[in-house]
């Protein structure tokens, strides 16, 4: 048996040293942020569940969009990035991308993404990227009903949509209920107009 077996130094690769928030705080945050971006790398929605400066947010977004877009279709949906785990899935032209803590359940996060897409699809009716561009505020409202502070608040599709529809009923302005971009149809990329479920 070799005598010097004990501690050969194991290097932590530099890319994994950067902590987004102090470790003690971080363990408490499950989902750290959610990003929606297009295949062209355009950010469509961002939701941050950890307090970060705008500068940091921009940096993370830039790096992550690059990393995820570089991946090939058949690769697995999880990747380690810094000290986080990224769970992502592509729906048509949009990438949905969540950052969770290393120990978190990847598959259930993947299904969180899917449920959110289902909610958008149900609300907009065959949702496409353009819906999210023109009705970004609705996308935020739906997300808030579903996820709050990075945790699932209500997983029932019916209940979430009920809450949103109740809110819509409260709108005094009946015009607003119609889908906006239907009124001002603009030429857009074909992919942006294609339904997220019709990949």
């Amino acid at each position: 048996m070799m005598v010097i077996a004990s501690g050969a130094p194991v290097r932590v690769s530099a890319s994994r040293c950067v902590l987004l928030v102090p470790r003690s705080l971080q363990r408490l945050f499950k989902m750290q942020f959610m990003l929606l971006f297009s295949r062209q790398g355009k950010l469509r929605l961002q939701k941050w569940y950890v307090p970060l400066s705008d500068k940091e947010k921009k940096k993370i977004t830039r790096e992550l969009v690059q990393t995820v877009l570089a991946r090939k279709p058949k690769m697995c949906s999880f990747l380690e990035w810094r000290d986080l785990k990224i769970v992502y899935k592509r729906y048509a032209s949009l990438y949905f991308c969540c950052a969770v803590e290393g120990q978190d359940n990847e598959l259930i996060t993947l299904e969180i993404i899917h449920r959110y897409v289902e909610l958008l699809d149900k609300y907009f009716g065959s949702v496409c990227e353009l819906d999210i561009i023109f009705n970004f505020e609705k996308a935020y409202f739906i997300l808030d009903e579903f996820l709050l502070g990075g945790e699932a608040q209500e997983t029932s599709k019916k209940n979430v949509l009920k809450a949103i529809e109740q809110a819509d009923l409260l709108q005094e302005n009946i015009d607003f209920q119609t889908r906006l971009f239907g009124g001002v149809m603009v030429p857009g990329l074909a992919s942006e107009a294609s339904g997220l479920f019709q990949t």
Binding site: V10, S77, A152, E154, A167
Partner: protein, 1111 residues
Amino acid sequence: MRGLAVFISDIRNCKSKEAEIKRINKELANIRSKFKGDKALDGYSKKKYVCKLLFIFLLGHDIDFGHMEAVNLLSSNKYTEKQIGYLFISVLVNSNSELIRLINNAIKNDLSSRNPTFMCLALHCIANVGSREMAEAFASEIPRILVAGDTMDSVKQSAALCLLRLYKTSPDLVLMGEWTSRVVHLLNDQHMGVVTAAISLITCLSQKNPDEFKTCVSLAVSRLSRIVSSASTDLQDYTYYFVPAPWLSCKLLRLLQCYPPPEDGAVKGRLVECLETILNKAQEPPKSKKVQHSNAKNAILFEAISLIIHYDSEPNLLVRACNQLGQFLQHRETNLRYLALESMCTLASSEFSHEAVKTHIETVINALKTERDVSVRQRAADLLYAMCDRSNAKQIVAEMLSYLETADYSIREEMVLKVAILAEKYAVDYSWYVDTILNLIRIAGDYVSEEVWYRVIQIVINRDDVQGYAAKTVFEALQAPACHENMVKVGGYILGEFGNLIAGDPRSSPLVQFNLLHSKFHLCSVPTRALLLSAYIKFINLFPETKVTIQEVLRCDSQIRNSDVELQQRAATVLEEMPPFPERESSILAKLKKKKGPGAVSVTELDDSKREAGELNGGGERATDSAAMAASNASTPSPSADLLGIRSSAPMGAAPAAAGSLLVDVFSEAGPAAPAAAVNNDGFLRELEQPTDTSDSLLVEGSGDADSAPPSEDPAAPLPDADDLLNKFVCKNNGVLFENQLLQIGIKSEYRQNLGRMYLFYGNKTSVQFASFSTTVSCPGELQSHILFNAPLNVQSKPVEPLVEGGAQIQQVLNIECLSDFSDAPLLNIKFRYGGALQNLTLKLPVTINKFFQPTEMTSQDFFQRWKQLSQPQQEAQKISKPTTAWTPRSSSQRYIAGFGSALLDNVDPNPENYVCAGVIQTKGQQVGCLLRLEPNAQAQVSVTLHLAQCERRAQQQVELETEGIERKDGEREKKDREIRLFFFLASLRSKQSCCPPTHTAPLHSQTLTSPSPQAAGVRAPAENMLRGQLSASDQLSLLSACDDLQEAVEEPSSSSACDDLQEAVETFFPGEFYPSVSSCDEPAGGCRGAFFIQVSSILLSAPVTTCRRL
């Protein structure tokens, strides 16, 4: 909001980034004017503009207005206006905004409105912003909302998660206290959504206060049990693709991971049942082909396995989990394979499942080879690493090695480390280990860090049985036409150390080995070349027959002219002859003893022995007296002068100077398991470990040799005539250092550049044995007091044998390295017992700065040109003294002066009576050129003038002057009457790095000197006093301390003006004597510092010599 839609499509129609920015600026101007306008905006317009601002912000532009309008929207009665207001605030308001009070007011109103939709909006906003101010305002309110019986379910859900967010940011403000049990009982709530939201809060609180929430375990188990056993339709909308409540199930299983296995048998039984059910369900045929179904099902399964691993107490479940994961290893879903590999990693560390995991080795190896996704391969490599033990180490290491050949660049370094660790940890035979590491270097040399290849060298050195094999293997590996440089390094070390073990085979004869190594030489970087040169030195030593070839090759090459100083020196060292190692010289000594018989060894005998040694070593004509030596120095000042080499460990030891210390680092990290002492027994490491005080490579720095010298017996004070004894040796290197009735100490020393080797011969003049004989070399206190500087001398010695028989003589070798200039000679303390009485005496070792003189030849023209260049006051020192006797004729004086070390130049000075000398003082850090002129005159006065120069090679170094008085005396006792005393001053250049200010002991003034200016003023008065000669020695010290303070301040990047202040101060003290270096130097602080030291030192030069000690 048609306006918003139009704006968005406008933006999308922009053809360029510039057009987009233009459009946005136009819109911002429009919105700004609307907000500032006299006309009050209606709610709809406000909402629209706020929404546009939000859109602009989300495009990545900064928004610096509109916050007030958004806050106004919060108090709107219209839901959509309120909603947009809250969204803007959630996205754009940071926690320290001054608007927070207004926002909090609006939230408070909504929370108390009892309108559930408004309450939810307010709670969402709190959860999204989550600032401390909000926690302060609402942390006590929200728990009440959460547990109140009349609160709507949707509000409860929001309240639970809102509280969770506040707890995450400000745990001190969220006090559950009385609410605890009611919160725990939310797990029993009928509404699944409420349970889903509440369980996140409970999990988080349980992590922090497990005891208070202990009751949640049984509730969670029963809830889980109900879900797991429910039919897929029971839970209605909470069933997701035929999986009942997957999110809630995962969260329940996660909550249970905060606790140890339940103590209550019934609860535990129920839980185990649940886990078994989950494992069983994994085997059932899927109810849907959709990936969502399998994902949701497997999400629960993986969470259950996590819990099983967390409990680590149910062998049955662990093995089942492992088998299940084993199935996933071959699943067609990449995600599942990834997760299975990941989970198995944790399973491998459990004693119950480690063996089960090992059965999947083939699959995992296959994954490593065939997976297309690098992140999956990475997981496979991790798992292989985790499942490795002695039984499968060879297989796993082999697979990892072969994978390395094609591995992704991003994971190679980690792979290399893993292979190296496994190979070392599970090595059963060392040849396998050596093979593995060499393969590692061959395959992925670029990623083999120094730690790894140092390690293999350490291990080879430790183990005799593997050295021959290592030499053979490395020799074979080097045959490859293209070798990685790390391979060359390892090869250089190992062949240099153990090449002799394979030298018997004609196919790997010494010359073949050398040629092989040298064939790689030209492709290597400078550090590797340096290492190879060191290996060549070892070669010459190991195989004298290679000497001629190696010298020849190197002479033809350009190494001596290499621009790199280090290589140049080493190449020159190779060209010189290698001195014999002391061990080998023992045969000569034995012969000597036999011839002379027991008794004292006289000076002439020593000289004889040296001559003999010279011949034995093929050293040719070795100058045996100082005159001849001077002549040879004068005629052949080139580095290849045929002197008996005095190089010892230094050329080899210095070779991997950095490497050596790293190696030591590795050792210290290895902790107690690494038997450092055992390693140190080997010569190689001793060379590397110069700076450590180990048992057999004593770095003799006053710490003493605790083993042989009882601590109670302090070394005696130096003998009163120690200085006289020392002075004898200023100009000569050999002779009897000391003699009394018992003991005679002979000395023989050689110096080259900044290195020296001294042989001490201790002769027992009595017929009685000396017991407990020990010697200690220490540098005197003054030399050691400068903690920030290294001790100027590094003296290494081996302990002597403790017994000296009557009439016998023992020898000790000291290796001396001059690191920087010094004034005091090291002390030699000798202790032994003679007839029971302890003898304790301390002598000064004749090591003086002039020993490190390297003579330099120059013509008269050169000499005087430089003499004039170096005539600034701070570069010149002069001393006039009276010889005690008449000045002797030139012929007999010559040899003494030459023995001083610098080259005595003839036909240079127009006055033939004068003596001129030139030389370079060599220390490790710097070289100081030195010109000397000795002018005897008719009145029998001798004036010595000394000029100093910076060495050209180190021209960038900063100058610090020090003064030293060195006494030169005639070496021969019988001519004492002819003694002349010469004083001269030596200046040294100290590299900037080592020039850090010494810790000052006497601050000039007690006030804290914060800025350079007051400090400069503080220095001024004493400096002026000193100029008038009114300053005591201690004040001078204080002055210099203050100067150090000043420089520290100057060196701080914040005080950029400090340089100017310093310059001003200097000019005030020394009007008209300022130096261009301050203004012209690239580094202002450094330049100032150098100039300043010159100034201060030049004052000190004019002070009496006694006060001009080292500062």
